[in-house]
Amino acid sequence: MDEQRAERCSAFLNIGRTARIDSRMMAWIFGIMTAAGIILFAVKGDGAGALAALVKGCEGAVSLTLTLAGAYLFWSGLMRIADEAGLVKKLARLMRRPLGLLMPDAPEAAAPVTLNLAANFFGLGNAATPFGLEAMRKLDRGDGRASDSMAMFIALNSSAVELLPTSVIAVRTACGSAEPYSIAVPTFLASIAAAAAAVISCRALGRVIK
């Protein structure tokens, strides 16, 4: 019990640390973009334009969130139905064997990895992240170095194989597209190609970068 709690605590601490690493990277991107923009406005002598642009960005965030809200609620609701009908678990069972081919040295991570990929596949980003963190814990050997399986998992997570790119479809609908779903099939095929490239390059580079 205590061990479990300790494990959970350290996981939380680690998440805090990542958030810092991530936000530091984003802080630089945010800082450089904002500073470069304001300096360029200043060079043009357009201080009012700089202020207007800064506030317009926040207004855009509010309207974008509202635009996304409807589609997001709908698909999250639907995916929960799939989950409770046992379809998500069924998929995980189906995927255990093929996953063994990709990550031979970590059979115990098969379940969280599959659930992570399945959740991503069904667009459940919220559910995918906890499974992904669990998978990384199972794959970790505590030496601060990425194993081939870890690298494979990260590479797979970086190619977005998703049944439906719901957020893109929501944006297309909001922008008055006559056929918002027309990009679904090419998007799916492109993401499959990206996943295949992830697997191949991960295997090939893993032999070179030790």
């Binding site: 990542t18 990260i154 970086s158 909001a174 922008c175 056929e179």
Partner: protein, 168 residues
Amino acid sequence: MNAGEAAIPLLIVLLIGYALIKKVNIYKAFAEGAKDALPQLVSVLPYLAAMLTALEVFRGSGALSALVRMLAPVGRLCGVREELIPLIVLRPFSGSASLALLRDTLTEYGADGYIGRAASVLVGSTETVFYTVALYFGSVGVTKTRQAIPAALISGAVGVAVGLLLIK
């Protein structure tokens, strides 16, 4: 009506039918799933606000077009249209900023033309590589990331290339 448009409502009907047979309380399940989406929406708004503020001032000042002009010759060599370069540059760094930029691209060039469809496929088929790497490797304290980042970037480049070929 294209195949995708017909298939999705059909899949939804099948899913609902299957769930009813499995005796799932689909009304409650749907509501609970939708409830899960709410905190996500609330927590994403402040980050969107920060990112869009930076993006708006970066673009409004002409800094973005300067960066794109610098990268345009590289894109031309690979056969990528200039209008798509900002999205390709931004995509690995931020999901929310790419969605915002996608919205702007669709508004400016139309959602159903070549640029609009290509931009949609680009955003839909790629991921925020740097965020994923930072989150997952950071969670177990891995600093030697070995082949993970190059493999993820190669994968993204292949996704972009295949997407553009399919749209043409």
